[in-house]
């Protein structure tokens, strides 16, 4: 009987072994290997036990045979079940690996200067301003003379001008207003040094009231460095009408800068521009440190943001407005300056390198 007992324990050991391993068989191949190990005709361990049956006495053979058969059946059933389970778990033929990277369509990025420009345009559109572009090449009258800078005026030195080798026809403006008599620069002799030239074109063409914003490129004979480029972008603003005051100018800047930078304070400092009187530099309380002083505002708590003033009566006279009947304010803002402050850009040249890794940050 001891033999039987030992064989019985062999069967139990085989069952244990099989049960432990069938659960871990995660592929059809593994299941087959496992099944073969136990049931293969030649070398299966259960098959081996069957082959020993003939050597046993009939009683033991019957009893032991039944046990071996039961094991064989259990294994066969388990293998079938495992095969079915694996088949059920297998992904369908058209399944995809959803974790692979998606197919992308390249989407480009708007230039940061244009983002700021659009934002400022929108702010002023909502305040009822007309937004228009002007020619980049100008004549002396519109760029200087009518702006109270006659030939030889010292203030011309403040804006080192680039002159054209020969006069050309400049771009048009104001098409949406219908036929504009002064719509084209007939003989441009210089690259405009400021968008202020459009003040003159507009006022010479349309009577007051005026409420315009002129964004665009301007040119100076400046070398490239951290804060200068020979071409940069500006916004010109002009409001003219009866009873327009310097208080209005303050309110307008407060609204614009708050829309751009959040709740900031503004401060006006007297300055000098030939085409405004009084003239003022406008400072904004530093949006990074809230006026406490930091590296961006050079510890002053204030950031110089734009130049402005009340339109000089000589300018009104040059365009045929009556300086006793109307007043107005004008201002110029550098778009680069706004973008540098807004996005924390420390080198203005980055805007003109067009490195896609720089541009990709803006959307």
């Amino acid at each position: 009987m001891s033999e039987t007992a030992s064989d019985r324990s062999t069967i139990d050991a085989l069952r244990e072994d099989f049960r432990a391993r069938i659960a871990a068989a995660s592929t059809d191949a593994a299941v087959k290997t496992l099944a073969d190990e136990f049931l293969s005709r030649k070398s299966g361990s259960v098959t081996g036990l069957m082959k020993t049956l003939g050597t046993l006495p009939p009683d033991a053979r019957r009893e032991f045979g039944a046990l071996v058969n039961a094991l064989k059946q259990e294994i066969e059933t388990s293998v079938d079940e495992r095969r079915q389970a694996l088949a059920a778990a297998r992904p369908p033929a058209d399944a995809v690996d959803v974790t692979l990277p998606p197919r992308t369509r390249a989407v480009g990025h708007v230039h940061p200067l244009m983002l700021v420009r659009q934002q400022v345009e929108d702010i002023f559109t909502h305040m009822g301003y007309e937004i228009l572009e002007g020619p980049e090449v100008e004549d002396d009258f519109h760029n200087f003379e009518a702006l109270n800078m006659p030939p030889d005026h010292p203030a011309r030195d403040m804006q080192d001008t680039l002159y054209l080798g020969s006069p050309i026809v400049g771009g048009t403006w104001g098409a949406h207003r219908g036929s504009v008599p002064d719509a084209q620069v007939r003989a441009a002799t210089l690259l405009r040094t400021h968008t202020s030239a459009m003040q003159i074109r507009y006022m010479k063409t349309f009577p007051p009231p005026v409420r315009i914003i002129v964004p665009g490129r301007v040119y100076r004979r400046d070398n490239l460095d951290l804060t200068h480029t020979p071409m940069f972008q500006q916004f010109e603003g002009l409001v003219v009408g009866e009873g327009v005051t310097m208080a209005n100018l303050k309110g307008t800047f407060k609204a614009m800068l708050t829309a751009l930078f959040g709740d900031v304070k503004i401060r006006l400092r007297p300055s000098f521009f030939p085409y405004t009187e009084p003239s003022a530099e406008v400072d904004m309380s530093c949006h990074k440190c809230a006026g406490a002083g930091c590296a961006i505002c050079k510890q002053t708590g204030w950031l110089e943001i734009l130049g402005s003033g009340m339109v000089h009566p000589a300018v009104f006279e040059a365009v045929g407005y009556d300086p006793d009947a109307v007043t107005g304010f004008a201002f110029g803002i550098g778009i680069e300056r706004l973008a540098m402050l807004k996005y924390g850009v420390e080198d203005i040249r980055l805007f003109y390198e067009n490195d896609v890794r720089f541009l990709e940050q803006f959307s």
Binding site: G165, A188, R217, P230, E242, M246, T252
Partner: protein, 706 residues
């Protein structure tokens, strides 16, 4: 203007630390560029003086502003009969003494003003001098103000310049021929060796100081070397004059010579100052032991400058500033600045001191009031909207639309300069079309850009050299040529992948049809149809065989002949043009540029919608064999010429050459779509149309159906 605090305090007893003074003045129109603390506790405040305020380019001028800001009195220099030599400690050194000088018609020097309009006033005095160094107190004050001390005499003229704002000059009396000073314009071809050692040729519009024989100084700009005061000089002629600002400015510009004197004269000096300055200089001569004045001054003042009187209206102050300023404040500020006020109707008559060359109108007075009353007193209000706001300029609207379109197509926006180098421009336009800049900053910015492409190619090249491979950039901007002037364009460059690489498919580099696709989308945005016309001789920057003109026309529903216009070019960039602009030659770049105004003319102003077709369309595909040189456009045109009423579209969907196709031939597969608006077409109708198509293609192109 560097102002030494102790020097400022000679004129006004301003209390407080330099930082406090700086803060106060910086909100009154004098930005402070820096404060330097000196070892002896003194300080130098560097005020930025705007170009309209020459009267503040001096210690006494700044003192007047400081006194007004702090509500203090200014001390003025006064004639003293007991000028003592300053002791070593500097006591009495800088004291505001003036020498007592007797004004004479003709003294030890004769002065003749030949051009009184260019020189309204000229004062001269003679003094015996001993040339040597000036005392330490004077030297240290000059150094603090940024002026290098030289000799006692030159130091005195610089000291007066810095203190009072009056430029002065000293001549060696021995060199002045005939003892005569003649203020006249230069003679044609007249030359003068200036103090900087350069021989200058003068022109007849320049004012000079001359002796009886020749020019000894360029008036208001620089003295002559031959009349310079030297260590041996015993007697000097001191000059203190008033010159016409514009004349000095023109002369200084023409000679390329900027000096402390010219900078003040060209902005405008005070015509009342020359004699006072002379008195101060003579007092200083004695105070520092540099010499003795002879006690007379020859003061020629042929054109008297009278002070302006301006009206100042109370309501105008309020009207401009948006806040009313009490009369008392108006008077206090203006009087402190040296204006004289007399009550008048609705305001005041204000007499403007002659030094205030910037105050010529009522608004200038209002600025003075606002400046010193403080801009912070002005409230914050909004301008009233009195007319309805006009619509957005369509130029701006369409730029925004283009920007959205281009970024949607994978292009990032670039902004490049409006100028470029001549070689770069010449790759994109005929040299006679290019507009040069007269005074360029450098070779790199020598001409206006005739195209946006040079800047874009440069930008793409920079990206590629920095390790980027797939670059898609566009720009909307203006370009300039002699014949077309200024015009707005959109341009693009595309390098690297033609579509975003993905693991599931083979990477494909950008080709002509990617570029063409963007062009067609652009045209579509403006309701235009773009046709690409092959260019047998393309512009220099495009590769032959991959270059096309973009011909745009209106999209007409009925197929009628709309007029067409050339709006731009598209194609593959020539490698050597790319290389010229920093794009490596092995990189294939596809570029295009479209004139926006030309394309925008096709935009429909009013959009009229139609309902979608009610009856089904029928497609017919055919494959034909044609010569491989036959452009697809020619085949398309042949079909179009038939004007089949029910043909709604025609599109090539395959083009094949190679195995099974005879040499020199190509198989072109076309899909024709037919539809009628009022019924479902029958097979017979479509077949009849197809027969016409095939027969036309056979006649025109020898096409055989496959």
């Amino acid at each position: 203007m560097k102002v030494l605090l102790s020097w400022l305090r000679d004129f006004v007893d301003v209390p407080g630390r330099p930082e406090e003074i700086a803060a106060t003045m910086s909100v009154r129109g004098f930005a402070v560029e820096g404060i330097e603390h000196l070892a002896d506790g003194d300080a130098v405040i560097d005020f930025e003086v705007t170009g309209n305020r020459p009267d503040c380019m001096s210690v006494s001028g700044m003192a007047r502003e400081v006194a007004t800001a702090f509500g203090l009195q200014v001390r003025r220099p006064a004639v003293s009969t007991s000028i003592r030599r300053a002791n070593a400690a500097g006591e009495n050194g800088p004291a505001l003494h003036l020498a007592s000088l007797k004004t004479v018609e003709r003294g030890d020097i004769e002065i003749v003003i030949e051009s009184p309009e260019l020189c309204p006033r000229y004062a001269g005095a003679v003094a015996e001098v001993t040339i040597g160094p000036s005392p330490e107190w004077m030297q240290s004050r000059l150094r603090a103000a940024g002026v290098r001390p030289t000799s006692n005499l030159v130091d005195i003229t610089n000291y007066v310049l810095l203190e009072l704002g009056q430029p002065m000059h000293a001549f060696d009396h021995a060199t002045i021929a005939g003892g005569q000073i003649r203020v006249r314009t230069a003679r044609p071809g007249e030359t003068l060796k200036t103090l900087d050692g350069r021989q200058r040729t003068l022109s007849p519009d320049m004012l000079v100081i001359a002796d009886a024989e020749h020019a000894v100084a360029v008036a208001g700009v620089m003295g002559g070397a031959d009349s310079e005061v030297t260590a041996e000089t015993k007697t000097i002629v001191l000059e203190s004059a008033h010159f016409n600002a514009l004349s000095v400015r023109r002369t200084s510009k023409a000679l390329g010579l900027k000096t402390e004197a010219s900078m003040r004269f060209e902005r405008g000096t005070d015509p009342r100052l020359p004699v006072t300055a002379m008195e101060r200089a003579c007092a200083l001569l004695e105070m520092i032991g540099a010499g003795t004045a002879r006690g007379t001054v020859v003061d020629r003042y042929p054109v008297r400058v009278e002070p302006n009187v301006l009206k100042l209206r109370r309501e105008r102050i309020t009207g401009l500033l948006g806040v009313s300023i009490p009369d008392g404040d108006v008077r206090r500020v203006l009087e402190a600045l040296g204006f004289a006020l007399r009550d008048a109707d609705a305001g005041w008559d204000v007499t403007v001191p002659t030094r205030r060359v910037d105050v010529t109108r009522e608004v200038d007075l209002i600025e003075e009031v606002a400046r010193h009353c403080g801009f912070d007193r002005i409230p914050t209000t909004f301008p009233a909207l009195t007319v309805p706001p006009p619509p957005l300029d369509p130029r701006i609207a369409r730029t925004r639309q283009l920007r959205a379109l281009a970024t949607g197509q994978g292009f990032s926006e670039a902004v490049t300069f409006g100028f470029t180098s001549a070689p770069a421009a010449e790759a994109f336009a005929a040299s006679e079309a290019i507009v040069p800049i007269k005074n360029p900053l450098s070779e790199a910015f020598a001409v206006l850009r005739p195209s946006l492409l040079p800047g874009l190619v440069e930008s793409a090249g920079r990206n590629i050299r920095r390790g980027q491979r797939d670059v898609q950039l566009f720009e909307v901007g203006n370009r300039f040529t002699r014949q077309d002037g200024e015009s707005q364009a959109i341009a693009f460059i595309w390098t690297g992948a033609g579509r975003t690489p993905h693991w599931s498919e083979r990477t494909r580099d950008v080709d002509f049809f990617d570029a063409a696709s963007f062009v067609s989308t652009l045209a579509d945005t403006f309701d235009a149809a773009a046709r690409l016309q092959p260019l047998a001789t393309p512009p220099t920057y495009l590769v032959a065989g991959q270059a096309a003109e973009i011909i745009a026309g209106g999209k007409s529903a009925n197929g009628g002949a709309a007029s067409t216009v050339r709006v731009g070019h598209v194609g593959r960039l020539t490698p050597n043009v790319g290389e010229l602009l920093g794009l490596p030659a092995e990189v294939a770049g596809y570029v295009g540029e479209v004139d926006i105004e030309s394309l925008a003319q096709f935009r429909r102003t009013a959009l009229k919608a139609t309902a979608p077709p009610r009856f089904p369309a029928i497609d017919r595909d055919i494959s034909i064999l044609v010569d491989d040189t036959t452009p697809a456009q020619a085949v398309r045109d042949t079909v179009r010429t038939l004007a089949l009423p029910q043909l709604v579209s025609l599109r090539e969907f395959d083009r094949y050459a190679g195995k099974g196709i005879p040499e020199g031939k190509v198989s072109l597969s076309l899909r024709l779509t037919f539809r009628a608006a009022d019924r479902t077409l029958t097979d017979a109708e479509v077949q009849s149309a197809m027969d016409d198509v095939l027969s036309a293609l056979e006649t025109k192109h020898g096409a055989a159906q496959r």
